[in-house]
Every structure is written in C-alpha cells, then in structure tokens.
Amino acid sequence: MKEGWEAVIGLEIHAQLNTESKIFCGCSTRFGDEPNANTCPVCLGLPGALPVLNRRAVELGARAALALGLRINEESIFARKNYFYPDLPKGYQISQYDRPFSEHGELEIVTATRDAAGHAREWRPMIIRITRMHLEEDAGKNVHEGLPETDRYSYVDLNRAGTPLAEIVTEPDFRTSWEAYDYVNHVRRALQWVGASEADMEKGNLRCEANVSVRRAGEEKFGTKVELKNLNSVRFMQKAIEYEIERHIELIESGGRVTQETRLWDDRANETRVMRSKEEAHDYRYFPEPDLPPLVVTAAFIEEVTAQMPELPEARRRRFMEEYGLSFDDASQFTAERGLADYYERAARAATNARAAANWIRSELLRELEASGRGAEESPVKAEELGALVRLIDEGKISGKQGKEVLVEMFASGKSAAVIVEEQGLAQVSDAGEIEGIVDEVIAASPKQLEQYRAGKETLFGFFVGQVMKASKGKANPKLVNEVLQERLRKS
C-alpha cells in the first residue's frame, strides 16, 4: 500500500452448512442433479407451504459459531428479507436480522506480511472481531446459458434454494488484503475442522464479500466504502481488495471521490467493475418471520454440541506448545489442518519423543507429502510408522542419516521402518558383547599399533575406531565402540 494511506476492510462470509437436507424442508442438498430435481412445495415457495427448521442445521451452525469464538444467543429470531429476483421463489429470503443466532466473537488468527511474490515473511497472531453469525437459506440460481432460446429466456434452477448458510460478518478490522486473506483461510479451515462446512470456494459452498475503504494514515473517520462481490477464490478476493485499495487512493489523490457502490471482480480483466450504485440499493423491509417460532438454544444443547466437537485449532496449538514443547511456528503449522494435527499426535505418541517427531514431520515428511501432492491423512507412511522410525533413531538402532534414507524408502514402498532396516541390514550393532568381540579381534590383529598407543600415541585411537567400524561393516554403534575401545586400550 502506498505510504501515508490506510485501508479499512470488513468481510462477510457465506458458508454452506454441511447438512444432508435443506434448512426448511427435507429436500437433498446434493449438487449436480437435474435442474429442479431436489425441490418440493416448501423450497419452491408454493402458496401454502411452510418452513420447518432442520435441527441438523442448528447443530452445525452451533459448531461453526463455537469454532469462531462466537456467543450463541439463547433465543434468536428468523426474519424475512424481502426483495424480488427470479431465483428467490418466495420473494423473500428467510434470514436473521436484529436477533441473530450468534454474536460478539473474538477470533485469534495468524497472519503474515508478504513479499512482492506473495511469500509470507513473518507470522504473527492477530485478533479479529466477528460481529455476528446468523443462519439463513440460500437462493436458487438463474441459468442464462446452455438451454434453448437463451436470447429470449432465462431459466431458474431451484436445487440450491433452501440450502442452509451461515453468514459470518466481521468488524472492519483488516488493514491489508493479506490479513483478509489469512482470515478467510482461517475460517475455512476452522469450519472444515469442526465439520460444519466443506468450505470450498471453488464449489461455491463458501462465498465472500468485502467492504473496502481507505483513509489517510492517522485519520479516524472511515472513507466511503465499496462492496466487492463475485470473489470466487481467496486469492481473487485478495487481489480484488488490493486493486480496490489502489483505485481508491489514486482516485482521491487525483482529486476525485469514491462512490458508494457494489463492484464485481472480473478475474479475466483483473479489475473490479460497478454492479449497482447506492441509489439502487434495496430496502429489504426485514420483519420477524411469522411462520417460525423463535429459535431457542439451551445451555444443554450447546454442551452437547461442544462435547461432540473436536478440540479446536487454537486450543490444540496451545496444548501442543505446552504438552509437547513445540515452538509457536511448529504448533501453528501442525494445527493448520486437523488431519496433520492428528497425524502429529499419533506420531509423537509412537515415537515417545515429541520434539524429534515434530522435527521429522516438519523437515522430512511434509516435503515428501508436498512433492507427491498428498495431505497428511493420505500419507503412505502412517503416523505410527513414522513414530517407530524416530524411535529407532532415538534408540541408536540406526543413525539419523540412515533414517532419512529409510523414510524415503518407506514413502516409496509403504514398508515399515523395521522391515527396511532389517532387509537392508542397517541396524546398528548395539550389543555390548558383540562389539567387545570385534574390538578384541581388532586389537589382537594390530599389536604394533597397540604398543604405540599405549606408549602415548593417542592419535591412534581413531585408527582403532576405523578398524572396528570396518569390521562391523559400519553397523557398530559408534558410541558403544568408543566406550569399549577406551576401556580395552587402557588395559595392560
């Protein structure tokens, strides 16, 4: 961002809750079926049909709210948001307005400044205030292509109408596009983590809108904000925000004024375009939905949901630092995804050396996984196996250097470390008796050197070590060899 300017950004995320059926009827939420196949009188908005709230959507909504640190309201009210659009069959969307499902969240994320190429430099924690998260139904979809006479007609597919959404709204707490980027990724992972949403932007089950304004550094008043839509990936969102910040600064510096409006990101042209101005903005005439009683969420229900939830990333990160002595960076990296966090814990337990397990995962396993484009869950090396490998090294069965080779082989063959070590005869000889035997043989075969050594030429110690290692084909445990040699050579 240009020197002397500050951007103010707020985000709205729509996440589809991962239910089997729609929020107010029993129709399937499956994608890709024949248009209007998954519909019924309720989601078609036929005269006389009435909504009935899907409890599963409430459960998943509660998971999402808890994962984002929101307070769930004991009673929330559904409200009608009135507007006309062909994909909105009732002429209103059932949403929530002045009494949302959950409010007042504080979410700790980690964010990093980026270099010109977009590579993260230094990660730091940051608190984002989440204003609210409410439940609502999705609209259908207008279809303008691929059907007869699209020059004269548009088509409507209502399969998506009524799928449950959680709308997550932040305070204007972001100052850079990358903070917004890191926040959205955090929310995505958190929702996936607790199973509330698939949160896949490409599939459209996570959508994002950004409010962007700029002001001179030090200024308290907000500038005129622009709403950005059609942000189909986190990266597009980041680019659109960046574009918009620069556009605003240029506009103001050249004596112009920002217009309050909604703009769309055009990812082909790499720019934003006007969608509608404020004058055309809707008056949604919200009022309480008379067809649905207030949604009451009891403490017992929240307890039940909490009990079913996996440990949250932040809590787990803190625990990893305390329990396993991991650094902030390692703990953050390992808790970025639930699969990886689970993997690490299992490996650490099998290794009985948590920090060594962490080192092996960070420096070796992740590189192998990345190279093969796999996630931790799909690793050909099971966590327990990696733990066993770490243990072999720890116990001195093989050296660290050998360990790396063994891991590569484990990755390729799927065999366990023990099998590979056995097959390749890599195991170190750590049996004191065996080593004593070899040492004795070597000493017996080198009387001249022994004499010189005992006469004070201690540099010959290295010669004996070399001979023993050679005789053991490199497998003798160096530490033991050292001990035994010291003892035997001293003897007279």
Binding site: P41, L50, Y286, F287, P293
Partner: protein, 485 residues
C-alpha cells in the same frame, strides 16, 4: 342434511355415499348461477371418491365424517383442483399437494365437492373482491354473503354441503357465518395447521369451519385440529373430543360483556338480538359479568398494519416467474414484475400490498409495524385479564346484517369497520365462534360472537350449543338446495 342425518341414512341404507355426493353436486350446480359460491365443482372427483367409500363400506362407518360432502375455500390446496385464491394472478393454478386439513378430512371419510369463491387472497368482507365475480347471500341475493370466505358460507347456508372450510384472518369465517345465518368457528392460532393455506397474514390466519349447527362444527374441527409437523406454529396441545362436551350445562358459567363494544356504530336490531342472547344465558344459569378491553378500539388500526405488512411479503411470490400469469413482451425483468402484478392483482390487494410495504419501509417500521406489535401485546393482555373474570366473552359478530352488493365498495374504511368485532381474536390468537341469534326486521340473520381464552374451543362449543338448544334458529334462507329443510 346435517352430519347426523347423513350418518343415520347411510346406516339405514336409505342412502349411499354416491347418492349423498349426487345430491350435493346437483345442488351446487343448480344454485351456482344464482349464488356464485363455487369456482370449481369437482363432479368427477366427488363421484370417484364416493365410489371408493361405497366400495369400502366395512371401514367407512367408523370414520368421523363418513361420506360427508365438504366445500373448500379456494385458498386451501387440494391436489388436482384449482387454487386461485380468488385472484386472476393464480388463474388455472393447480397445486401439486394437499393441505394438511385436506389430508385429515380425507382420512375422516369426506367427499371434497369443490372449491369455493372468496375475496382475492382472503382480503375483503363482502366477497366482492373476487376476480371471478361476487357471491350472493342466500337470504337475499341482492346482498353480500360477507367475506372473505363468502362462497363457503353461502354453500353451507344454502344447505348444499353440511360443512365447509374457510380461513379467518380478521373475521373471514365468523363474519360471513353471521351474515348467512350459520355457525362459523375460528380456532386458536396454532390449533389447526396452516400448511396448504395460501398465506395472507401469517400470524393471524387460521383455517376455520362453517356448519349449520354447533355439533357439526365441533365434529369437523375435532377432525382437522392438532399439531402438524409441517407447520411450526401449530401447538402440541391435546385436542379434546369437542362433541362429547356439548352437555348444555351453563350452571356457574361466566359470560363476559365488554360494554364498550355495544355502543356507536352498532345496528339496533343486532344490539337487541345480542342483548337478548345474554338474557338467555342468564336464564340458563350463567353469571353475566362486565369486562373491559381498553385496547380493542385500536384493533382495526393495528390489524391493518400487521395484516398488510405480512401480506406484502406473502404476495411477493406472485411475480410472473411462476404460476402461469405473466405480462408478456416485457423488455426488462422489472417491467415484467410491475406489469404482471399490476394486471394480475385486484384493487384491494394492491392497496394492501402498498400499505404493508409502506409500514415495513426503512424509516417507518418503528412508527407503524413495531408500534402495532406493541399494541397487539397490550390487547392480548386485555383478553388475559378479562378471562380471569369470565369463561367466554360475548359480542355481536358484525355491526350490521348483510349489506347490499356495491354498497361499500367505494369506501374501504367503512368496509374495514365490518371487522371491528372479529379482528381482536386474530390479533390475540384466541378462538371465536359466531352463532345465529335472531333475525332483523328485514328478515336477515344476526350473529353473536363468543370469544374464549387460548385452547378453549370446548367451552365455546358448549356455550354455543347450550344457546342453540334454548333458542333454536329455525329460519331458513330463500335460496336453498332442493329437498332440504
């Protein structure tokens, strides 16, 4: 024939379901030109259904409403029959599903005879707002039957069917029942499922029943009442056997009289009849107590804010995209919306949509909608306090008897005042029943209304029945089905 008669004659073998259906169909077809009560008479469906019932003779008698023909207001969905709600915008709309009340009626053995005329989207008090022409009052065909369920009321009053379904948002069952000299019940909000009832004012709408007598009304309500998992606003409150409660017992009952509702604007004949009914109750052993409803005077104002607000949203779905009615050759989406709704809706509906849109608009919401909700809460409190002192409140159902067609069409406010006694029950969510209580000097029926606390339909039926026994209403309209008494 009332339900009891049908039952007896079926049991005695004098009639079968087919004969019952034929009689009702014949009467409906013959009188429709005079009354305009039906928008669709389902001859084929009714006969087929009667055939089924006759074929299943073994099981049929156990059904509560075996072979009883029923007329259904056109805003209630019956699969296979039209559901225009009296509007041109839903001309030729055939819903693909049954309302819950229809499922329950069918399970009880009824024969759905057809769909009845009504004010467009149930908005009106005279049935003159139907896009398909007015309904005429069987007592005097120059007069209105009341509304909005005018067709159902006329069909029952003319003895075409023993029972009919209507919907009551501000009095649309009780007011036409009163003007047509029959019984009309509006249950407690949440007592009967609204699933399948085209919504007008969702927090006020209830499906209600018309019958020629209290017993039939009680029987019909016991069939359709009860929680429905498809309607989240129905309550899980047990439905008593209403008919078994019709004991005639009034000893120790307390009847509340809100004196302020017997003042200005009330027709002298109506007042005299209702006051006489109060004396009948006293004579039956009831205690008559004065009650106050200090906020009732705001009821019409509150009602026309809340009902129109909800209607403006409920009717948004009729936008030309679905249901067939669409202004063709529109250049833009906006133009299609505007023209479709301009052409498809009638004057009263448009007036209410505009009112409702206005009171919900940003900047006006607090002053109108929110304030109306506050007064609504106060009115509920009024009733709660009143029902601490009495078991039912008695009022006239309507300020006047049936008025002439065209008499009030140019004066919406005068038309709205017809609902002055009935809207309170919808706002408070309490049940109400209208029972014939006499004739005016011009030989038009007069109705009295009994209001009760939530879920007190049993009490209302018992009180209405006791009155009916003491003062049988023997007068009959001039237009009636042949052979009916």
């Amino acid at each position: 024939m009332n339900i009891e008669t049908i039952k007896t004659r079926l049991a005695g073998g004098e009639l079968d379901a087919r004969a019952v259906a034929e009689r009702a169909l014949g009467a409906a077809e013959e009188l429709n030109e005079t009354l305009g009560a039906f928008l669709q008479i389902d001859r084929a469906g009714a006969l087929a259904r009667a055939g089924e019932l006759d074929a299943d003779r073994g099981a049929s008698p156990a059904r509560a409403l075996n072979s009883v023909p029923v007329a259904v207001k056109d805003n209630i969905c019956v699969r296979g029959l039209q559901a225009s709600s009296g509007s041109a915008i839903l001309r030729d709309y055939y819903p693909p599903y049954n309302a819950t009340v229809i499922e329950r009626l069918r399970a009880a053995g009824t024969i759905i005879l057809g769909k009845t005329n009504c004010d467009e989207f149930a908005m009106g008090s005279s049935n003159e707002n139907s896009a398909y022409g007015p309904v005429r009052n069987p007592w005097d065909t120059k007069r209105v039957p009341g509304g909005s369920s005018g067709g159902s009321a006329a069909a029952v009053a003319a003895r075409i069917v023993p029972i009919a379904l209507g919907s009551d948002t501000g009095g649309s069952v009780r007011q036409p029942a009163s003007l047509c000299g029959i019984v009309g019940v509006k249950p407690t909000y949440g007592r009967v499922s609204r699933y399948g009832l085209a919504a007008f004012g969702s927090s006020l709408d209830q499906i209600g029943v018309f019958a020629t007598n209290t017993t039939d009304a009680a029987l019909a309500l016991s069939v359709i009442a009860g929680r429905d998992p498809r309607d989240a606003t129905t309550a899980d409150v047990a439905v008593p056997d209403y008919v078994s409660q019709l004991t005639g017992e009034m000893q120790g009952a307390r009847i509340g009289v809100p004196r302020e509702l017997f003042g200005e604007g009330l027709d002298a004949d109506v007042r005299a009849s209702v006051l006489a009914a109060i004396e009948t109750y006293r004579a039956l052993g009831a205690e008559v107590v004065d009650v106050e409803l200090p906020h009732a005077k705001y009821a019409i104002a509150v009602y026309y804010i809340i009902a129109t607000a909800e209607a403006s949203s409920n009717l948004a779905r009729y936008d030309g995209v679905r249901y067939g009615c669409r202004a063709e050759e529109s250049r833009t989406l906006r133009e299609m919306y505007r023209r479709t709704r301009e052409e498809g809706f009638g004057v009263e509906v448009k007036r209410r949509i505009m009112l409702g849109t206005y009171v919900l608009s940003s900047g006006y919401y607090d002053a109108y909608y929110l304030k109306a909700q506050k007064v609504r809460a106060l009115l509920k409190q009024d009733f709660a306090r009143a029902f601490e002192r009495c078991d039912a409140i008695i009022t006239p159902t309507t300020p006047t008897t049936a008025f002439l067609l065209g008499e009030k069409t140019d004066d919406p406010l005068a038309m709205y005042l017809n609902d002055v006694y009935t809207v309170t029950a919808n706002l408070a969510g309490i049940p109400g029943i209208s029972v014939p209580c006499g004739l005016s000097q011009t030989n038009l029926p007069i109705g009295m209304q009994l209001l009760g606390a939530h879920w007190s339909e049993s009490t209302l039926f018992r009180f209405a029945h006791a009155y009916e026994r003491a003062q049988p209403f023997d007068a009959r309209p001039s237009v009636m089905a042949k052979g009916e008494a």
